[in-house]
Every structure is written in structure tokens, then in C-alpha cells.
């Protein structure tokens, strides 16, 4: 385990890009089933752009890295996910403040800020079959551990469970809501991508590889 510092934030975003490129097709398929099939492409495009920005100028704080991600996602992802993830990373960046390391409570504060940003923008409630259903249990799970890495691990596992739990739900927000009860039986793509993003944070925390080495 390494510290949750600026280098970790850089590795996190790069790991997001790697995982979302790998999961592009899967997320496209999930979105084809109950949406319009672009979620995988949108996320891949967005995080690819984040990496390009990181390569241009290394961010020297957690807050700076997250803000860079926020602005880049906002201007490259488009769709519903763009403003939602953009807002999430922007609020997380504000929550990170001038901290140069995150402990458990800091991780929780950061995730809570992200979740609140998504809810403020998208007005979804838990159970509406959106990414909120991954973020909400993640925030809750992050509350217990004092240790930052443990909080992230708890959050990622809760997000994964939350994403899986969207399967039986009827969508009430976003494109999938047009389907009504026909949305039942499918995972929400945004909840799944949220779980990948949080799992990427854990992977980055466990990684010894320096930021520059992962693209």
C-alpha cells in the first residue's frame, strides 16, 4: 500500500482510463440494452482525454488532479454521464482542499461530496436505477474505517454490490426510464462504471508503480 497522495490521485485517474478502455465494449452493451449504447465510448473518450491532460502537466496536489479530471470530463464525455461525473470530480476536488494525504474520514468526505454533486445535478434518488445507487452505498461504507485505503476498499466493494443491485430495479431517471418495466433485469451502466472508478482508486492505492509508468 502506498499513501493516498497526489501521486495516488494521478495513478487513480490513469487506472480509470485503463479499466474503462478495457470495459468499453461491456459498458456499450449494458447501455445498448436499456439506453443508447454510448456509455462505454463516452467514458473511454473522457478518461483518455484526462490522461492526455495529465501527461501535459503533472498535477502537484490531489485537488488539482481531481479538478483537472472534472474539467476534462465535463468537456469531453457529453451525454448524461459527462456533467454528472464532471460535477462529482469537481466537488471531490473541493472536498480534498489542501490535504496532501487522505485518511478514512477524508475519503468519506470526498466521496460524499461527489455523490451530493451528482444528486444536485441529476435529481435522482436511491432506487432510481442510476449511478447514485453505486455512490450511495459507497459513501456509507467509507464511513467506518479510519484508514484511507480501507475506506476506499469498503467503498469500492459497496459500489460493486450497489451496481449489481440495480438489476431488478425499474429505471426512473435518464434514458433507461423510457423503458419503464422493460428496464428490469439489466444493470445500470453508470452504476457499473462508478464501481470501476472506485475499484480503480483501490488498485492505484495498492500499486507501487510510479505515476508515469501506467498509461
Amino acid at each position: 500500500m502506498t499513501a493516498l497522495d497526489a501521486a495516488w490521485a494521478d495513478r487513480w485517474l490513469r487506472e480509470c482510463a485503463r479499466v474503462l478502455a478495457e470495459r468499453r465494449e461491456e459498458l456499450i452493451d449494458l447501455d445498448r440494452a436499456i439506453g443508447d449504447g454510448d456509455h462505454g465510448e463516452n467514458m473511454d473518450r473522457g478518461f483518455r482525454a484526462v490522461v492526455a491532460k495529465l501527461d501535459e502537466a503533472r498535477s502537484d496536489s490531489i485537488a488539482a488532479a481531481l479538478k483537472l479530471a472534472a474539467m476534462t470530463l465535463m468537456s469531453t464525455v457529453g451525454g448524461a454521464a459527462g456533467p454528472l461525473y464532471g460535477t462529482a470530480f469537481l466537488r471531490a476536488s473541493v472536498a480534498a482542499g489542501d490535504r496532501d494525504r487522505l485518511n478514512g474520514p477524508a475519503v468519506e468526505a470526498l466521496l460524499a461530496a461527489a455523490r451530493d454533486g451528482i444528486v444536485a445535478r441529476g435529481k435522482a434518488e436511491p432506487g432510481d436505477k442510476t449511478m447514485v445507487d453505486a455512490w450511495t452505498p459507497a459513501v456509507k461504507a467509507a464511513a467506518a474505517p479510519a484508514d484511507g485505503e480501507a475506506a476506499l476498499e469498503a467503498a469500492a466493494s459497496a459500489a460493486e454490490a450497489g451496481a449489481q443491485a440495480t438489476k431488478p430495479l425499474v429505471a426512473r431517471k435518464g434514458r433507461a426510464s423510457y423503458l419503464g418495466s422493460r428496464s428490469v433485469g439489466h444493470l445500470d451502466p453508470g452504476a457499473v462504471s462508478t464501481s470501476y472508478i472506485l475499484r480503480a482508486a483501490v488498485t492505484a492505492a495498492m500499486s507501487e508503480i510510479s505515476a508515469g509508468g501506467v498509461a
Partner: protein, 333 residues
């Protein structure tokens, strides 16, 4: 996937490029970020009109930039809404100093991105009014959905609000007439066969031979129900009936009837649908005063059509008839 494209990820840029070259008398294409503005820039003292959304619905929206219609259009990636950093400069380019109306199809992605852009515009001192178009009666408008989708009726909103803006109406008046169109327009569509998003490479959905999707959205989103293929007359009735019932069309009402192709259906078939829709409206005592038939709001090469009815009054008819000079809609000039 068989398409007349080069790099699947460059489709929008190359296409807009070609559009700009072909219609250099009407538009200017701006890059990084991408948007299309009326040639010669904003008209001072005129309310600006901006629309945008995912690409793949051509000629929507860039095809409607020009005199008497839009001042700028913002194309997103295929079927994905554009981003605030595109919408912001497009709005600046449309701003003649008296405010701008954003015409936004009601999709979460479009709404959120235009909302963010509008905040940025306001911060710069550009007054922005947002008019959401939600004409698709296939989707229930309830607390349990993201609300009705905006589909082909958008063209009518853009034309009519554009005419009012061109004639120098105030920001309030242009916004009001756009809202009036939204209040009086309803649509419903169906698909016989899907289109293929270039960067996806596979059809957006699957339909069995002999099966169609009634209530389809313009991104290939599923509709109300899958039914067996029926003759065009019966299918037209499935589309027109919910439209006129939701709109509450009565005997004596004057309407504009718009049969829109989804991109891959021959024009001749659209006229067969038009014929039946006109008969059904006549049966209800409605008077078809204006018509539009063609591929105006498409979904790539999807096969299918939508039927749109707009209830007219003298004001709307006047603005509809007013001159328009764009790549895709042109008359009177």
C-alpha cells in the same frame, strides 16, 4: 458495418467539415470546440437561437442554421449530447446583445450539458432562456421517467421561433412562441430496422424479420412495444392516434402535418404514410393547412418514420410561412 466513413471516431468532424464546405454561403464551422454558426456572426439586436444535441440526426441541427432559423448549432458525438465548452462559444456567437434562447431536446444528457452551459453564459452576462422540447408521446410524462423525449417536433420549434427572432421579436416573445409550439406539438415514431452507430459498429437494437418497434426514439431507444409488421395504413394509425389524442385535436382545428423519415426509408414510403395520416385527420374534421414530408430528424440509417402534428393558429402559421434560408429548409428567399 458498411458505411461511407473513414475513421469511425472522426465521423462527426469530417461530416461537419464537408457541411461547412458545401454551405459556406450560409455557415461557418468552428473547431476546438466544434460548433456551427451562421455566416457573418450574430445579428446585433436580434435574439439568438442555439440548438444542439448528439449527432446522427442530420440535418438536425446544423442544417437549420441560417436566416430565419438558428444562429448556431452544437453537434455532439453520435447520439451523445455536446459539452458545455462547445455550447458556451456557440451561444456567444449567437448573442446579438439581447439574449439567447437554447432549444433543447429533453434528454438528461442534453438538459444537463445545456444547463451547465447556461450557467457559464449567465456568468458572462449573456441572458439565456432554455426551452425544452418534449413532443414524443411514446414516453409517459410522469414522475417516474425523465419526461417525454424531444424528437422531430424540434424542427418546428426551431423554424417558428427562428422566424419570430428574425423579425426582431423580444427575448420574452421568442421564448413564448417557442413554448407555444412545444405546447401544441406531438410526435410518435416507429422503426422497421435499426441504424448502426459508427463507433459501436453493431446495430443499435435487434428486430426479428416481421417485427417492428412502435414508439421508437431517435437514438434507437426502445419504444412502447414491439408488434408484428402491418400495412402502412394500420401503422400510420398506430402513430397518429396517440398523437392527436394527446394533443386533443378537434373538428375544425387547423394543423401542420409532418411525416419525418428516420434516414433509411424511401421518400415514396413517407408519402404513403402521409396519405393515410391526412385521411385520418380529415376523418376527425381537422384541417391540414401545412405539410412537411422528408428526412428532417433522422436516426442515422434507421428505417422508419415518425408522425408529428402541430396545432396551428394565425401566429404560428405566419411564422411558419416566413422566409427561411438554411441548408435543409428553405423558402421565400
Amino acid at each position: 458495418m458498411k458505411k461511407l466513413i473513414n475513421d469511425p471516431r472522426a465521423v462527426v468532424e469530417e461530416s461537419v467539415d464537408g457541411f461547412g464546405l458545401a454551405h459556406a454561403d450560409l455557415v461557418e464551422v468552428h473547431r476546438d470546440p466544434l460548433y456551427v454558426a451562421r455566416r457573418g456572426g450574430a445579428v446585433q439586436g436580434k435574439v439568438g437561437l442555439v440548438s444542439g444535441g448528439g449527432s446522427g440526426h442530420e440535418p438536425l441541427h446544423a442544417g437549420y442554421v441560417g436566416q430565419g432559423m438558428l444562429d448556431a448549432a452544437v453537434p455532439g458525438p453520435v447520439f451523445t449530447s455536446p459539452t458545455p465548452d462547445q455550447i458556451l462559444p456557440a451561444t456567444r456567437a449567437a448573442d446579438g446583445g439581447v439574449g439567447v434562447v437554447h432549444i433543447v431536446k429533453n434528454y438528461t444528457g442534453d438538459v444537463l450539458n445545456f444547463e451547465t452551459a447556461a450557467e457559464l453564459c449567465e456568468a458572462e452576462g449573456i441572458e439565456v432562456r432554455t426551452v425544452l422540447v418534449n413532443d414524443d408521446v411514446a414516453v409517459e410524462d410522469s414522475l417516474y421517467t425523465a419526461g417525454r423525449r424531444g424528437v422531430a417536433g424540434t424542427v418546428l420549434v426551431e423554424k417558428i421561433a427562428g422566424a419570430a427572432a428574425e423579425r426582431g421579436e423580444s427575448l420574452d416573445a421568442v421564448e413564448a412562441v417557442a413554448r407555444k409550439v412545444v405546447a401544441n406539438v406531438r410526435s410518435m415514431g416507429l422503426a422497421l430496422a435499426p441504424g448502426t452507430v459508427p463507433h459501436v459498429g453493431r446495430p443499435s437494437f435487434e428486430l426479428e424479420e416481421g417485427e417492428i418497434e412502435v414508439g421508437i426514439g431517435i437514438h434507437g431507444e426502445p419504444g412502447r412495444r414491439r408488434v408484428g409488421l402491418e400495412p402502412a395504413d394500420a401503422l400510420t394509425e398506430h402513430l397518429l392516434t396517440p398523437v392527436v389524442e394527446d394533443l386533443g385535436v378537434r373538428g375544425g382545428d387547423k394543423v401542420l402535418l409532418f411525416v419525418n423519415g428516420m434516414g433509411g426509408t424511401p421518400l415514396s414510403e413517407l408519402y404513403i404514410v402521409y396519405r393515410r395520416a391526412a385521411q385520418l385527420l380529415a376523418d376527425r374534421g381537422a384541417i391540414v393547412e401545412r405539410s412537411l414530408v422528408g428526412n428532417y430528424t433522422t436516426s442515422l440509417e434507421m428505417q422508419g418514420c415518425s408522425v408529428t402534428v402541430l396545432r396551428l393558429d394565425d401566429e404560428l402559421t405566419t411564422w411558419w410561412d416566413a422566409p427561411v434560408k438554411t441548408a435543409a429548409l428553405r423558402w421565400g428567399v
